[in-house]
């Protein structure tokens, strides 16, 4: 499928972006991965307001922009801002975030050349992300096992061959998928679970990953951002954070009846994880966790801005 941003017209681009810019500047839009437009009880999102729709197909018809890309860009904004209730404001909520993060809300739209085909931006960004997480200086590099890294490098090599015009066979992909699943199964590092599931889920031809990418990227980015907080924690808090990650993993991987209900307590054999996920612990440590989140904010902004700049580079080049 080919796209033509803003029907190739600077006039159309200006006409579509101007009202959204005004609303965004007034902080009357709430960034969200979903296309929110005229939903009951929910503020409009940037992309919902841009195309005045909740429907992905209509969004693409009206803007000429892949919905996957729009959702990815808005997810990055959402990840970098804090939204709080503000009943005495016209919007009913307040947004807070670094200026550069907030600027990306419209900045990525401004960067689009009318007529550009942005259909390959998300696959290219997926490659950018995978390459980034496999770099030795990646924040979580020490938590990626050699087996998992090997699977990631194999996926990256396949993607590069695909992007160069070669076709990998189903058998090639099955091998790397099994390699990634085996690496995930062997992994016990609390921080690596979401990296492992991300890599495992990316083990497909890069063009076919586009539609699923935002959903796969969200937990990976969340994991990366909460890792930034550990620099501001005591040793005890860091250990508790690892127990929390193990609790989430145990609940995510527990066998389910018809894939829905868990008929046993997955934390029964993880008393420390059960402790840190208890309401008592969460309430007792809440103020401290809020302080840590705030202290880590500049580091998280750095991560988000780096990803935003990567996207802007790809968009400008299209």
């Amino acid at each position: 499928m080919t796209f033509q941003a803003f029907s190739g017209s600077q006039t159309v681009k200006n006409r579509m972006i101007a009202p959204v810019r005004a609303q965004w500047t007034a902080r009357a839009l709430a960034p969200d991965t979903d296309l929110n437009w005229n939903r009951d009880g929910q503020p409009d999102s940037i992309n919902g307001a841009l195309a005045q729709t909740q429907d992905r197909t209509v969004f693409e018809q009206r803007t000429g922009i892949p919905a996957d890309l729009a959702q990815l860009c808005e997810h990055l904004v959402a990840a970098g801002v804090r939204k709080s209730d503000a009943p005495d404001t016209a919007a009913g909520f307040a947004l807070e975030g670094a200026d550069a993060v907030l600027a990306f809300g419209i900045g990525w739209l401004d960067a689009i050349r009318p007529g550009a085909d942005l259909g390959m931006i998300v696959p290219q960004f997926a490659r950018h992300c995978l390459n980034r997480l496999l770099e030795p200086n990646f924040a979580l590099a020490g938590h990626i096992s050699p087996d998992l890294r090997g699977a990631g490098l194999q996926i990256l090599a396949f993607w590069d061959r695909e992007l160069a015009g070669h076709t990998m066979t189903r058998g090639d992909w099955r091998d790397v998928q099994r390699q990634a699943m085996a690496a995930t199964a062997k992994d016990t590092d609390p921080w690596s679970y979401r990296i492992a599931t991300f890599i495992e889920a990316l083990a497909w031809p890069v063009r076919s990953v586009s539609r699923e990418f935002v959903g796969l990227f969200e937990p990976f980015l969340f994991n990366w951002l909460i890792y930034c907080e550990t620099a501001f924690m005591t040793d005890e808090e860091r250990t508790d954070r690892e127990h929390l990650l193990l609790a989430w993993k145990a609940m995510a991987t527990a066998p389910r009846d018809e894939g829905v209900n868990i008929d046993f307590d997955p934390l029964e054999s993880l008393p420390q994880s059960a402790r840190v996920i208890s309401v008592d612990h969460v309430m007792r440590t809440m103020d401290r966790m809020i302080a840590i989140r705030e202290a880590a904010r500049p580091r998280k902004d750095e991560v988000i801005l780096d990803l935003m700049n990567g996207l802007l580079t790809l968009i400008r080049a299209a």
């Binding site: 998928q177 699943m181 889920a201 076919s208 539609r211 959903g215 894939g259």
Partner: protein, 107 residues
């Protein structure tokens, strides 16, 4: 790479599922179910992977209580694979793991 997923109803299930010559993957969903919407890209990805070897359909549980009841669906999202008249509820949720699970059933 997006594949169109056929919507099946109580009225059309006999033809689309019961008389299908191919195995059928049924996605039981509802528009208000966030996890169901999040799973949709994966279902579309699966349809692309299997092409003509697997029929992928979706059933809105709010509009099709007979079909939902017939397959004993207790919660959504629910993915059920029907092969040779036998229905198996799938447990995995990522495309990579679902393909492993489906291949294991299809043989």
């Amino acid at each position: 790479m997006n594949a169109e997923i056929l919507a099946v109803s109580d009225a059309t299930c006999d033809v689309e599922i019961g008389q299908s010559s191919k195995p059928v993957l049924i996605d039981f969903w509802a528009p208000w179910c966030g996890p169901c919407m999040a799973l949709l890209p994966t279902i579309e990805g699966l349809a692309s992977v299997y092409g003509d070897d697997l029929k992928v359909v979706k059933v809105n549980v709010d509009e099709n209580p007979i079909l939902t009841d017939k397959f004993g669906v207790q919660g959504i999202p629910n993915l059920t694979l029907v092969k040779d008249g036998n229905a198996v509820a799938l447990r995995e949720r990522s495309r990579t793991r679902l393909v492993e699970e489906i291949d294991g059933i299809l043989g």
